[in-house]
C-alpha cells in the first residue's frame, strides 16, 4: 500500500499520525479510502462538491498530480504521496 504523508495542520484529524498507509490503485481511490478511515479529514481535502480543494496540493514522489493525471494518476505500492497545504505563518 502507498504511504501518504499528513502535514502538521491536518494531523489533529488523523489522531496525530503523520504517515499513513492507504490502499488504492489511483490517487482518487487512495483519497477516498483515506477519508473513510479518517472522516474528519474529508472537509479539509474536498469541497462540498467532492472536488479537491484548490489550496491542497498532492504530490506523488516529487510531482504534482496536476502535472500527471490528476486524481486518476496511478499509484504503486511503493509510492509516497505528499499532502501539502498552504500555511502562512512567519
Amino acid at each position: 500500500m502507498a504511504t501518504i504523508r499528513i502535514p502538521t495542520p491536518l494531523r489533529p484529524y488523523t489522531n496525530g499520525r503523520s504517515d499513513l498507509t492507504v490502499s488504492g490503485g489511483t490517487i482518487g481511490q487512495v483519497l477516498d479510502n483515506l477519508v473513510q478511515q479518517y472522516p474528519a479529514l474529508r472537509a479539509h481535502i474536498f469541497n462540498e462538491n467532492g472536488e479537491l480543494r484548490p489550496f491542497v496540493n498532492l504530490f506523488i514522489g516529487e510531482d504534482n498530480i496536476n502535472d500527471l493525471q490528476g486524481t486518476h494518476t496511478p499509484v504503486k505500492e511503493e509510492d509516497r504521496i505528499l499532502l501539502i497545504p498552504s500555511i502562512a505563518g512567519g
Partner: protein, 384 residues
C-alpha cells in the same frame, strides 16, 4: 559599475572573499544589491540579520508592528529592551550594530496594494517573511508584475516551506496555490503556535537563496518547493511547474494589477488575534462575569486544546476542542444559553459558526477569550 571595497570591508568580509564562488567581485555585488524584507518577525529576524552580516548594501524592512514580549521566543533580532518599540526601528538598530557599513531603509507601514509597488520598485529581490495569506498573495503579485524574484518562506508549528518564485524563470506562488484556504481552515501561528527555532531554519534558507540570486551562483530554489519537518527532521523537495492557467503569470493573465487581498482571502492582512464573531454574538468578559454573578444559567464551553488547560481555566467550563465540536453536538442543548471561549476569541468565533449552522441560536462568543477574562475579571490568571 560595482562599488569598491574599503580595507576595512575587505577585512570584515575576508571569509567571503576566500570562497571562489563569492570572491571580491561577489562581495562588491552584495554591496551594490538591494533586498526588501517584508515582515520583521520570525522569518524576517534571521533573514535581516544574515543579509546585514553578509554585507548586502541596501536592505529595506517593512513592518508596522511593535515588539511584544510574546515575539521574543523566535524573533531574535529584537530584545527585551525593545519591547514596545517599532519592530523596524528595533531591527534597524541591531542590523547597524552588526554592520554599520550598510544602509537600512525602514517602512513603518503595512504592506498594502496602495504602497506595495512603490516600496518594492527599487529592490532587486523581495523576501516574503509575512505571517498571513493576504500579504503573501500581495507579495507574489507585486513580484510578478514588477518582474522580481520572490523568496518565499512559510512556517507552522514544526513545519516549514521555502521556494523562490520567479515568474520569469518558473512558477509563482499562485501557480502552486491558486486560491487561499477558506478563512479559519488553516490556523495561524498566533492561534496554533510555532516552534521558536523553526523560522530560524526557514529564514536562513531564504537568506541563502537571496544571496545566491544576487551572486548568480548555484541552483536557486526556482521550480522546487522545500518541505521541512522539524519533528521528523526531514527535508523533502517537490517539483513545481508553471500553471498554464495561472491567473497572474500565464500568457493571458486575468490579474494585471493589484487587487483587494483582504477581500480575496476573506481575512485581515495580519496575524493578530482579534477574536470577534460580530457584535450581536459577542459577550465581553466583564458582562459574562456579571451574568454569572447574577446566577444566570450558562453553559461555558472551552474550545481550546487539552494542553492549554494547564495554562489557564475558567471554573465550571467544559472542554470540547474546536476540532471535535461538530462530532459532539449531541452533548449540547440548543435550549440552553451557551458561551464559547478559547485563548483570544478566534477559534471560539469559528465554533460559534459551527453551532449557528447546526441551528443553535442562544450562543455567545467570549470576546478576547480567556486572555480578556484574565485582564478584566481574574488577574490571577496568566495571559498567553
Amino acid at each position: 559599475m560595482l562599488p569598491n571595497l574599503s580595507h576595512e570591508e575587505i577585512l570584515r568580509y575576508s571569509r567571503h572573499l576566500l570562497i571562489p564562488e563569492v570572491g571580491l567581485e561577489g562581495q562588491r555585488k552584495l554591496k551594490a544589491a538591494s533586498i526588501l524584507v517584508i515582515g520583521t518577525g520570525g522569518l524576517g529576524s534571521p533573514v535581516s540579520l544574515y543579509l546585514a552580516a553578509a554585507g548586502v548594501g541596501h536592505i529595506g524592512l517593512v513592518d508596522y508592528d511593535v515588539v511584544d514580549s510574546s515575539n521574543l521566543q523566535r524573533q531574535v533580532i529584537h530584545g527585551t529592551a525593545s519591547v514596545g518599540e517599532l519592530k523596524v526601528e528595533s531591527a534597524r538598530r541591531r542590523m547597524l550594530d552588526l554592520n554599520p557599513g550598510i544602509e537600512v531603509e525602514v517602512y513603518n507601514e503595512p504592506f498594502t496594494s496602495e504602497n506595495a509597488m512603490r516600496i518594492a520598485a527599487d529592490y532587486d529581490v523581495i523576501i516574503d517573511g509575512t505571517d498571513n495569506f493576504p500579504t503573501r498573495y500581495l507579495s507574489n503579485d507585486v513580484c510578478v508584475l514588477l518582474g522580481k524574484p520572490n523568496v518565499y518562506g512559510s512556517i507552522f508549528r514544526f513545519e516549514g516551506q521555502a521556494s523562490v518564485f520567479d515568474a520569469r524563470r518558473g512558477p509563482c506562488y499562485r501557480c502552486l496555490f491558486p486560491e487561499p484556504p477558506p478563512p479559519g481552515m488553516v490556523p495561524s501561528c498566533a492561534e496554533g503556535g510555532v516552534l521558536g527555532v523553526l523560522p530560524g531554519t526557514i529564514g536562513t534558507i531564504q537568506a541563502t537563496e537571496a544571496l545566491k540570486l544576487v551572486l548568480g551562483i548555484g541552483e536557486p530554489l526556482i521550480g522546487r518547493l522545500l518541505l521541512y519537518n522539524a519533528l521528523d527532521m526531514t527535508f523533502d523537495f517537490v517539483n513545481l511547474k508553471k500553471n498554464p492557467k495561472c491567473k497572474i503569470c500565464s500568457p493571458n493573465p486575468e490579474i494585471t494589477e493589484l487587487i483587494d487581498y483582504e477581500a480575496f482571502c476573506g481575512v485581515p492582512g495580519h496575524d493578530h488575534e482579534e477574536g470577534s464573531a460580530g457584535k450581536e454574538w459577542d459577550i465581553s468578559a466583564t458582562e459574562l462575569a456579571q451574568k454569572l454573578k447574577n446566577g444566570a444559567r450558562l453553559r461555558l464551553i472551552d474550545v481550546r486544546e487539552p494542553h492549554e488547560l494547564e495554562i489557564s481555566q475558567i471554573p465550571g467550563a467544559q472542554l470540547i476542542p474546536l476540532g471535535q465540536l461538530a462530532a459532539r453536538l449531541s452533548e449540547l442543548d440548543s435550549a440552553e444559553e451557551i458561551v464559547l471561549f478559547c485563548k483570544a476569541g478566534t477559534r471560539s468565533a469559528r465554533a460559534l459558526e459551527v453551532l449557528l449552522s447546526a441551528g443553535f441560536r442562544k450562543v455567545k462568543n467570549l470576546k478576547g477569550g480567556i486572555n480578556a477574562w484574565a485582564r478584566e475579571v481574574d488577574p490571577s490568571l496568566p495571559i498567553y
